[in-house]
Symmetry: C3
Subunit: 255 residues, 3 copies
Amino acid sequence: MSSTNDSLDAARVASILARVAERRPRIHCLTNTVAQNITANMLLAFGAVPSMASHPEEVAAVAGGAGAILINLGTISPEGERAIPKLLEVARQRSIPLVLDPVFVELSPLRLKLAEEVLRLPGVVVRGNAVEIAALAGPLEQSPGATRATTGAVDEIVGPSGELSIAFGHPLMSRVTGLGCASSALVAACLAIEPDPVIAAGAALTAYGIAGEIAAERCRGPGSFAVELIDAVAALDAGTLQAGAARSRRSRDTA
Amino acid sequence: MSSTNDSLDAARVASILARVAERRPRIHCLTNTVAQNITANMLLAFGAVPSMASHPEEVAAVAGGAGAILINLGTISPEGERAIPKLLEVARQRSIPLVLDPVFVELSPLRLKLAEEVLRLPGVVVRGNAVEIAALAGPLEQSPGATRATTGAVDEIVGPSGELSIAFGHPLMSRVTGLGCASSALVAACLAIEPDPVIAAGAALTAYGIAGEIAAERCRGPGSFAVELIDAVAALDAGTLQAGAARSRRSRDTA
Amino acid sequence: MSSTNDSLDAARVASILARVAERRPRIHCLTNTVAQNITANMLLAFGAVPSMASHPEEVAAVAGGAGAILINLGTISPEGERAIPKLLEVARQRSIPLVLDPVFVELSPLRLKLAEEVLRLPGVVVRGNAVEIAALAGPLEQSPGATRATTGAVDEIVGPSGELSIAFGHPLMSRVTGLGCASSALVAACLAIEPDPVIAAGAALTAYGIAGEIAAERCRGPGSFAVELIDAVAALDAGTLQAGAARSRRSRDTA
């Protein structure tokens, strides 16, 4: 991978997805109650296994065997707040990769404080939209070895090992609740089997974006889009990724 | 609007929906964990933006910038209970309109107490089924300027500015969990841009009922109905509202 | 019913489902936030009515009038933990049948402790996968009159009144989150109207498995499978059960 803005080729993405499907890593998600269901379903469709305990008395035991941990700050509860230091400790002790999704961090001083706490862990991958990532600019700069994945019309991934630009996806992805949250979980799933965080995030967002384009062609609104997206993620393989990437590029060239 | 039981014409409903889609108000929902996902998706399909923080330390900050607030008492938690006075304070200070959904209030003395607390705020709009509204008869009578929207085969809206009767909808709407809760959120979305609470509730329930009739024609059970309903809400515009209202009236006339 | 491994005939299952649809029992579910929505929708499709209060101050009042109670340990919260003894007390005082779903009990000492607490109540029905049931082997042996329903490729039900083997279902049922949890709720719904726990569990799992096979034929992935499963459950009747059972047996014979 060069240090300039690159995309990932479909074959590389396919090989990362195949490893997820083969190893079926468990992804422990401390995530908001709005997005829990679609996050779990997207992980299952992707070939990973979700777990979602948040009780401070059990969260370390359950997360201890996970392949990656996701901390999503949406609808954070006092209980979830108490679970965060336990997850950070388990991640540190067992070197479990960790993804942070700072939902609406710009609206809440509490979430900003919690995000700063998470970012003291080295090597965190942060996935958020442009407003959320901007609200974390300071803490991100001081975070040791952090990777940031800013998603939008074009996803920009910047980390210690380089940069990637991902131009797949569809506007309907922002019309269904929890789809951004679910993308963070897929980043965590790739991180469980791929050590380079930039490549892992790039593979997840490429695959998800291509699935989004496939789903958009088959749906007639945001309700059916969500259903089709899960089906499309579950059907991703070397062939669909290759075809999807080619078609997406063609449609951009003729736009 | 007259003070007798009227319906709203489709053009008026369409103009209210167009204002929602244009201004994209954020609706802050303290709502039950069963209905959070479909409530958020219905708001997005309607053109509004959901937020769902409930942590007592952040709920006022997040709700402060919202266009309307929804308090739904389903699966109320100790934490949600502590969030209610903070939401009431923010609604009062910033004159943010507030909708109350008193889910199963007839079964729980705790919910009755909380509903009474909410109804001390002037101008609350209450959306519930006939049993729930009846259980609140006393507190509603003493509530200053409250509007009540009783939904069922025919929705009855009664408020300081008049009364409305809405006869759209489909029986499948009571076979999917959270669809009543989601209708309260749509009432809140209209209330964010329309100052007359009777008109706002009427517009939301008219639009939702017409979408329900469209979805019922396209589905083959409650699972596909929920998906089609989101798609139908997202596709509502002057044309679909007009056609839907005409068809619904025709089918009632020939029944 | 004999004491050897039997299945239930479709007519018997249909008569139990018809009683559920006629009496519409309310099933009180203390269940995890990931599965709440699909559990409620599956209960509604099945003809039952869900309630999901968990606040320790209201849970006994709300559960008191229920036809059956489900305790599911997934994403158990400190608040849910405090609700459990109240649910056990209400179940004991009013002789309300109780189903335990010990999600991921093998990963959490806290859940093991809570499961043991639940199993001190006589006559509990436990529905879990083979790993979960194995993790509860000791407590189950000492539980007075417990029935265990171990679900998988073949569901095995063993209780005081006999044993049943159910060979319906589809692998996609393990690719959607919450479908196991929802099956426990359907067992509770049957238990609300059928006093024999082995028969009740057998009827629920037979019906659910047949619906799963119907849904699998209509879907193109786990997203559409979940939608089709709700539709298929809602459409179950004597005819679909009979046809589904016959077709399923035929396909096994030719396999």
